[in-house]
């Protein structure tokens, strides 16, 4: 393994090997993962449909989606527990499709950690090294190092059942990292943890990932988790990748109606386009207003559309104006420093608006006017693309 990691050619001067970090023996450089038109079927059910994506070296990619969207199947294909029906998986450009799971050198941390219950913490970490037939001395040293990396030195002789959830997860991480995998796969790694512990473990994983320059693929159904930990998110639905982009772009520039509905909360308003030019589309909403929206997409006049606006992109006004539409306030909920208003438009759509409550007590009911904030950039979708 080490030969792959460290450039081993002697330099012109004195055969000194350049090192990447203070402790070169445990530094692992990230590797790329390419999924090329991967399809997987269980009988007649297509779990993964023609997925292509590239995970860059040293990047964390989250596969995010509702249960049954194919994200776990995709992870198991990369791990080698399943063999895809079509397409190819490559690590560093080399296809690994023909390799069984035990020759792929892909680390995995399961949702329930899957520690060997009859082995101590140290034995769990040593397991992969021993399976590789490393010399005893080498195994002992590596185990020591990784016990330190995950700060579990004093727990080395405990059995998994004597550890807390967070500690078990750290053992699982150490066990997976000890064999220096090319890629680390994380299957819903935080869902079995208490909420308070989740953030700690997210930071821990981020720390390890930075320290080792790891390439990691994370499967989750929790968008907050994906947003906070991943460099890029692949939002999946019904076996397909709907959008593969940075967390900010996935939130602010959702590619599809599914993404807009799955990530965060949004308000959908029906209408149709009037005309579209120079990146601006003028639309008439059924709620009773005409708006000019910046949009990269071009729509033919008269196309039925849905305007998707985040609660924080809307604002409530006391008086009418050309770019505002009338709403009826139904109720208001105080949420921390904000107030969430529940509104109904003239065409019967429900709107949620979040406004900062700066001291003033806002009247909770009655007529008002709703408009876009000046800097807001809502998204437009053809309404036939509604799922």
């Amino acid at each position: 393994m080490l030969g792959d990691i460290l450039p081993n050619k002697p330099s012109s001067k004195g055969g000194q090997v350049p090192t990447r970090s203070a402790d070169p023996s445990i530094s692992v450089r990230g590797h790329t993962v390419d999924l090329d038109a991967v399809t997987h079927r269980y009988g007649t059910l297509t779990a993964v449909a023609d997925v292509s994506l590239t995970v860059r070296a040293g990047e964390i990619v989250a596969l995010l989606g509702p249960s049954g969207c194919g994200k776990t199947t995709l992870l198991r294909l990369v791990a080698g527990f399943l063999r895809q029906s079509a397409g190819s998986v490559r690590i560093d450009g080399k296809p690994i499709d023909a390799l069984p799971a035990n020759q792929r050198n892909v680390g995995i941390v399961f949702q329930n950690y899957a520690l060997f219950p009859h082995m101590t913490v140290a034995d769990n970490i040593a397991y992969g090294l021993q399976a590789h037939g490393r010399p005893r001395d080498d195994v002992r040293k590596t185990v020591e190092r990784f016990l330190e990396v995950v700060r579990l030195g004093e727990f080395r002789d405990r059995l998994p059942r004597q550890l807390s959830g967070g500690q078990q997860q750290r053992v699982a991480l150490a066990r997976a990292l000890a064999v220096e995998p090319t890629v680390l796969l994380l299957d819903e790694p935080f869902s079995a943890l208490d909420k308070s512990l989740r953030l700690d473990m997210q930071i821990e994983i981020k720390r390890l990932q930075r320290q080792f320059g790891l390439t990691a693929i994370l499967v989750t159904h929790d968008q907050d988790e994906a947003m906070s930990i991943a460099d890029r998110i692949a939002v999946m639905n019904q076996g397909r990748v709907e959008q593969f982009d940075t967390p900010i772009n996935v939130y602010d520039r959702p590619a599809t109606l599914f993404v807009t509905g799955f990530i965060g909360t949004t308000n959908l308003l029906r209408g149709k386009t009037l005309h579209s030019s120079n990146g601006t589309t003028t639309i008439a909403l059924d709620a009773g207003v005409q708006l000019a929206i910046a949009s990269e997409r071009h729509f033919a006049p008269g196309t039925p559309i849905l305007l998707s606006a985040r609660p924080e992109q809307l604002h409530l006004y006391g008086e009418a104006s050309a770019d505002r539409w009338p709403v009826r306030r139904r109720f208001a909920l105080p949420i921390g420093p904000n107030t969430m208003h529940d509104l109904e438009t003239r065409d019967g759509a429900t709107l949620k608006i979040v406004e900062q409550r700066i001291g003033a007590i806002v009247d909770a009911t009655g007529e008002a006017w709703c408009g876009l904030r000046t800097e807001a950039r809502p998204s437009l979708f053809e309404s036939s693309s509604q799922p």
Partner: protein, 272 residues
């Protein structure tokens, strides 16, 4: 209020009574045979006339109980060999069949459980005819083979129960850490299902030890088996040593069970 309490009471009474009857039926014979074995008299009769250990002394006497000793030794040898063969074969079969849902796996699973349903006398006769057809003569080895076939279901059941509780993620973790199938089997599968295997082996041993129907057909002149000798003694002389043998068997199985209960939680394994 009052009637409900009466109802509760009569319910408890009925359940308690049934439990007591069940307990009497289960434990009564054991107690009676144990007490009888300590009789001072010369015949198997309950209640015993006075207490003594004379029958045990006679049973352990090397010369006067030589035939019993030889039968016991045969039975122990057969039970030991049967246990080993059934454990190895049953474990291999259950590991191979675990989590396979295909048509062939299901068919094989049912096939291996057959000896449990097939009347053992019929199997004994069939085995005798088959072995004779092959030109083999009754011997201890044939009894071992016959016993192995009929006790394999015990091992298969307990081991399969352990296998089904083995988390697939453990095996997948092992593979992703670079372990071969055999390495995984040795270091993860086997230690995890060991209690099931040990429980199955114990059952196989005991089932072989007191098997009559199969032994009956496959016993030759030089392969006298303990249960058959005991039956013979009962038929001819009403020898009290039969009760003493029963006493020894009950005591040893009881001790083994207690040890296994401590080691592997035997009763829990059998319930699975």
């Amino acid at each position: 209020m009052r009637s409900r309490r009466t109802g509760d009471f009569s319910y408890s009474l009925a359940i308690g009574l049934l439990a007591a009857i069940g307990f009497l039926i289960l434990v009564g014979p054991v107690v009676i045979v144990l007490l009888t074995s300590f009789t001072e008299g010369r015949s198997i009769r309950f209640p015993p006339s006075g207490l003594s250990t004379q029958w045990y002394q006679l049973l352990f006497d090397a010369t006067s109980s030589r035939q019993i000793h030889r039968a016991a030794l045969n039975s122990l040898q057969v039970a030991g060999a049967t246990m080993i063969m059934a454990t190895v074969l049953g474990t291999l079969a259950s590991v191979a069949l675990a989590r396979r849902s295909g048509k062939w796996a299901r068919a094989l699973d049912t096939f291996f459980m057959w000896p449990m349903i097939l009347p053992m006398l019929a199997f004994g006769l069939a085995a005798l005819m088959y072995f004779t057809f092959l030109g083999l003569r009754p011997s201890l080895e044939l009894i071992m083979i016959g016993h192995t076939i009929v006790v394999i279901p015990f091992v298969l059941r307990t081991t399969s129960a352990s296998m089904s509780q083995l988390e697939p993620a453990l095996l997948e973790s092992s593979a992703s850490l670079g372990a071969s199938w055999f390495y995984t089997f040795r270091r993860v599968t086997l230690p995890m299902i060991a209690p099931g295997i040990i429980a199955g082996g114990f059952l196989a041993f005991v089932a072989s030890l007191d098997n009559v129907p199969v032994s009956l057909f496959l016993t030759g002149p030089r392969s006298d088996m303990l249960p058959i000798r005991m039956w013979g003694m009962m038929e001819s002389t009403l020898d009290v040593r039969v009760a003493a043998v029963s006493g020894v068997l009950i005591a040893s199985v009881l001790v083994l069970m207690l040890v296994l209960e401590r080691l592997v939680g035997l009763t829990r394994r059998l319930r699975d």
